[in-house]
Symmetry: C2
Subunit: 229 residues, 2 copies
């Protein structure tokens, strides 16, 4: 059986060793007599798998303790709604950098929920470049600043994490679907990092969110608003 | 290798023949040199798989042509929000039958988005019974009527599809996560049927929605509202 050379961006090729292990455990995970897909999500075995996955990721990315790691459904595109719904907070406004198809989609979705300002855009040059972070116009009252480090459709990438001009201290939110785990990143410079699994992490179906714990509290505000409180 | 007797409600046991096929194709699906998880969602091979799954389901459940079949992410619980967000329409109100944990969760989520009336409830008897459909109080202007045919936590089930008292013609919406494919159903009596895959269909990760095509148009209204139009 020969394996193809697979250069798809995502769904992407998986390591052969991983596929062989999944294959060997397909009818019985660690001699339990059932596959991981047939196992209760509340079982000790499955809780171990989930905890190990989080530990491994925290080690690989040096994720600080004051960040939570969430494994979610719905794809990175569902985060286009979940992020403004949960993080806009009382100000109701956020800033977005527009550098290609993915950030355009994120902006369009966020505009349903709040006052969205485009802090920088290269649309006029058909996304053949990306505006320098020093030129981004960030509003002092915005709840967060969103950007897309790697625009896979237009082929434009920020190689470094942007340094924002002080005194702006908005949390930086990044769609890292095609960036994550490709290099070390300083997680502490971000408020929230999200990434669909199918490009750089594993098979499609899981979306990773790494969020600074203080931002989780904004969800409580969003929840209260939704209930008319 | 011996297989366990697995009576979990969900994630549930999968047929051994299916696991063996997945196992044999883990490194190369139909001699392509890559697994199905590594394949482009736009490839001919994957589109064939998706179309075959829909054809098989339409045949098994005799789904009429004026219904659409959607394979979605997010679990049946995400439908607790998606259904009111998309179907409430201009009336902004819907009726729900409350027969246990799952319908209570569906009601709580719907209350964020509209005027929700409990058309019948057995909460006073601690969900040891289910109110007869003939006793449900359905409002003439409600956008739809939601019920949960099988409440797996409290162990209460409607064995027959309820016959509503005329002249109410609201579309019936049913959470069939633990009902679907266990028996023939007359799909034409429902407006929308939804079901998480992990109990009766297959591994966790997919949610099935079967929706009458005219109801899809209500989403356009919801979309316009969301955009402030």
């Amino acid at each position: 059986m020969s394996r193809a050379y697979n250069f798809c961006a995502g769904p992407a090729a998986l390591p052969e060793a991983v596929l062989r292990q999944a294959q060997s455990e397909m009818l019985s995970y660690q001699g339990q007599g059932l596959s991981v897909m047939e196992m209760s999500h509340r079982s000790e075995q499955f809780v171990d798998i989930a905890e190990q996955a989080e530990r491994d990721l925290r080690r690989l990315l040096s994720i600080p303790e004051h960040y939570s790691v969430l494994f979610l459904q719905g794809g990175a595109s569902l985060q286009f709604s979940m992020i403004p719904l949960n993080l806009l907070g009382e100000s109701g406004c956020a800033d977005y950098v527009c550098t290609g198809s993915w950030s355009k989609k994120a902006i369009k979705e966020a505009q349903r929920f709040g006052d969205i300002h485009v802090a920088g855009s290269s649309e006029a040059s058909r996304f053949t470049s990306a505006p320098a972070a020093s030129d981004w116009t960030v509003r002092p009252n915005s709840a967060y600043l969103h950007y897309t480090p790697n625009e896979t459709i237009h082929g434009v990438e920020y190689l470094e994490t942007p340094s924002l001009n002080l005194p702006h201290t908005q949390p930086l939110v990044a769609d890292m679907s095609s960036t994550i785990l490709s290099r070390p990143i300083d997680v502490s410079r971000f408020g929230l990092i999200y990434a669909g699994a199918q490009k750089n992490i594993g098979p499609a179906g899981i979306t990773l969110v790494i969020i600074r714990n203080d931002l989780l509290e904004r969800s409580a505000y969003a929840d209260k608003q939704a209930q008319g409180g």
